[in-house]
Symmetry: C2
Subunit: 496 residues, 2 copies
Amino acid sequence: MVRAAVCGTEGRQFESALVYQKMAKEKKIKPSKETPSGFIDRKEKELLIRDFVISNIKEVMIKYGFQYLETPSFEYTDSIGKFLPDKDRPGEGVFSFKDENKWLSLRYDLTAPLARYVAKNYNEIPKPFKRYQLGTVWRNEKPGPGRFREFLQFDADYVGTKNPQADAELCILLAETLSKCGLDKNEFIIRVSNRKCFFGLLDFLEIKNENQRIAAVRAVDKYERIGIEGVKSLLGKGRTDKSGDFTKGAELNKKQIDGIVAYIKENSLYDEERENFKGSARFAPLAVWDDLSPLYSEGIRELGGFFGLTELSEYKDQIVYSPTLVRGIEYYTGTTFEANLLFKVKNQKGKEIEFGSVGGGGRYDNLINRFGNLDVPCTGVSFGLDRLVFALMQKKDFKIKSVKPVVICIFDQKNIENYFGILNKLRSSNISSEIYPGEGKLKKQMEYANKIQSPCVIFYGDDEIKKGEVKLRNLKTGEELSIKIENLVNEIRKII
Amino acid sequence: MVRAAVCGTEGRQFESALVYQKMAKEKKIKPSKETPSGFIDRKEKELLIRDFVISNIKEVMIKYGFQYLETPSFEYTDSIGKFLPDKDRPGEGVFSFKDENKWLSLRYDLTAPLARYVAKNYNEIPKPFKRYQLGTVWRNEKPGPGRFREFLQFDADYVGTKNPQADAELCILLAETLSKCGLDKNEFIIRVSNRKCFFGLLDFLEIKNENQRIAAVRAVDKYERIGIEGVKSLLGKGRTDKSGDFTKGAELNKKQIDGIVAYIKENSLYDEERENFKGSARFAPLAVWDDLSPLYSEGIRELGGFFGLTELSEYKDQIVYSPTLVRGIEYYTGTTFEANLLFKVKNQKGKEIEFGSVGGGGRYDNLINRFGNLDVPCTGVSFGLDRLVFALMQKKDFKIKSVKPVVICIFDQKNIENYFGILNKLRSSNISSEIYPGEGKLKKQMEYANKIQSPCVIFYGDDEIKKGEVKLRNLKTGEELSIKIENLVNEIRKII
């Protein structure tokens, strides 16, 4: 009784886990060696590139005057709400637990927790408040190829101003970051639109029901993935995907669907046949769409202010107008944007894949208002780190050096003090190095050194010890040299 | 029906979350602004120090020849088993979910997932295999002051060798890392013992029941926190802590308890009255304890091999013998070690606190064997990053520079192009800078600049624009200078 009160976890749930473990033990079922579906192990090459990308993003964040913040993985479920693209899935796509009397959820993005943070600390933060955050987010979605249930995000948000300068700053920052990470200016575009334009179109088409409006946003958001026919189905009764799963549609009438489809066809930057984005597009809204509704005009006016500012930046050609960009998340209220690569990305089998964006965001003026009567307009950008890393790994001219240790071979345990002498010498010169652990035969030690891609191995047997020199074998060339101990560091520096 | 099949989350659990959210909406309950109990927000100063620590640890890892790896947050519950110190709590102290027919848990450390990784990839990995990993871990424990339910760990593990060289390497690495992060050699010790010695003592005392043995380990592990009387209770019937929670004891008999207490009193490096560790101790086991049991002697022999190696390192005085160190985790089988600070750490109220270790680990030779018939001896070390950062923040001579932006004030929106000109100039010179977003009065802009601790602000009004110069105000000194645009970057560099 005492223990249950102490911890306050949901007893029933955990008891089942225990019963399962006990069963497994009794039946001597071996535990699984696999990662759960939608989760993966990541190896050195990817992680080193990710570190490189993260450190570049952090540098840009600091240069642009953003502050570092971190919120926890878990939030109260009611704090972060339910604003995911796939609202219509069970559990809203989040991982949740019951903790005493309240529900906790793993965050599904870094924006909803920021809104909670601002509401909590509103009196203390600067106004406006610019913060950046790096963190894992989780989505309890259906896993698929390249679609994971946890991923790393890097966000920058601008809190407390309606000024389009904030939106422009974030798009410029997004462009500068991609550029700093190694993408050429002709390898990406940042497509920009405004949620008010699309909602203005829906006003014109007399689509007033809130659920239908959000369903229409989500349908159009999927255009580049599912094509115009897929969008039509999602605007209508619904759509069954390749795996047989059915997504309910917006249930619009034919006239409404035709209106949206015409808007996409005339305005989209996406070339459905070539499966690619067209080059850059200056902000020049087609006159025919110009006065659909007051909301539409307001969106166009805001975009005018926005593009007036990005025109002043180095990335004016990368930041382009894209009327059909809507972004699937419910909380956006104004300017939205998304970074797309202009080169094709291939999967591990060499097949070109539908890749999605490497970053995006937009304005969400009403999110913090949920916590009380705080009128705090916000805008933010989120980097899809894993995708960006995946894309960079495919660029031929992109290389990250991975340092491997020099291996000091063991001939006789009685000479271990001598081996440590060499090791201390190398490490104090900041050379990655190690003594092979154990007394394995030389053949096994060499297999190990080759397997870890060591640049060179050191032989330091009785003879060498007497002479005060080592044998150094370059594992790339196979060349072997006798070297005086005092010259060792310099010789190794030539090889690594 | 289709949707439930798709996602495979536990329907009941999520339905309750939805019902709760719906109730909250109907009753117009405002969402909570608080972080859940045991979880906190972290701010810039701490995060910058943490980044500094992480980048130093990574450098040492590479120098010592460890490979970078990352496993996911979630593992199948049966894969990671249940080896936590507080095994006797409900749910084993982990956060678990049901996913289709299997249970998933958030990892509680990085060692159990490594064991799963090695079992899965045994044929591909080098032997021995040295890997490092950084990641958040979660414990569903009772939160307390400074005791959180998520924290960041940095681990290095040496897989596939029984050689004491591997254990020695990890302790030397631990010492070098602490040193590189800014601790002087007289500010920490690494206490070392061997689980076989303590189990050998239990053999001698005829404590054979497995649960009693583990309970005894956990009791002694808490010695520095709860004192000898607390340990006595935990070795006996149990102990009620300050908050009224009861922990069941090992239920040993009086003779057995007296034996363990005598062992602690004669061997501990901890001074209970001064609440501090005694200085360094060479490996010199007391003869009186020397032949308690075969297992005890084996432990002493292994320690002899270990200390023979650490003696050869630069950190020989920091790596000390500490017979009463046991470590609370169940899976250890041999050498165990723990890094303790020798200076007092204070909490935010200035009160000295019981601080625990900033890193530790040990040998776990049987963990991978759970997955099949793989005989893979392992040893590992784990850094408690949050604690290390907390301790470094208290050192007077430890400073991390936090860069704040130069603020370009707005006088008139019509001159925005000029402001952008200055901004582009500064940012292309890599100077952190921003234009104040909006048209707030100058007073408000100055309040903002002071609040964010900007080093200086730039005034660029109509007059200055005509003259081709700006007014630069140093916010530390209050000094204001008129500066030609071409000299601006150099002048700012003098201030920041």
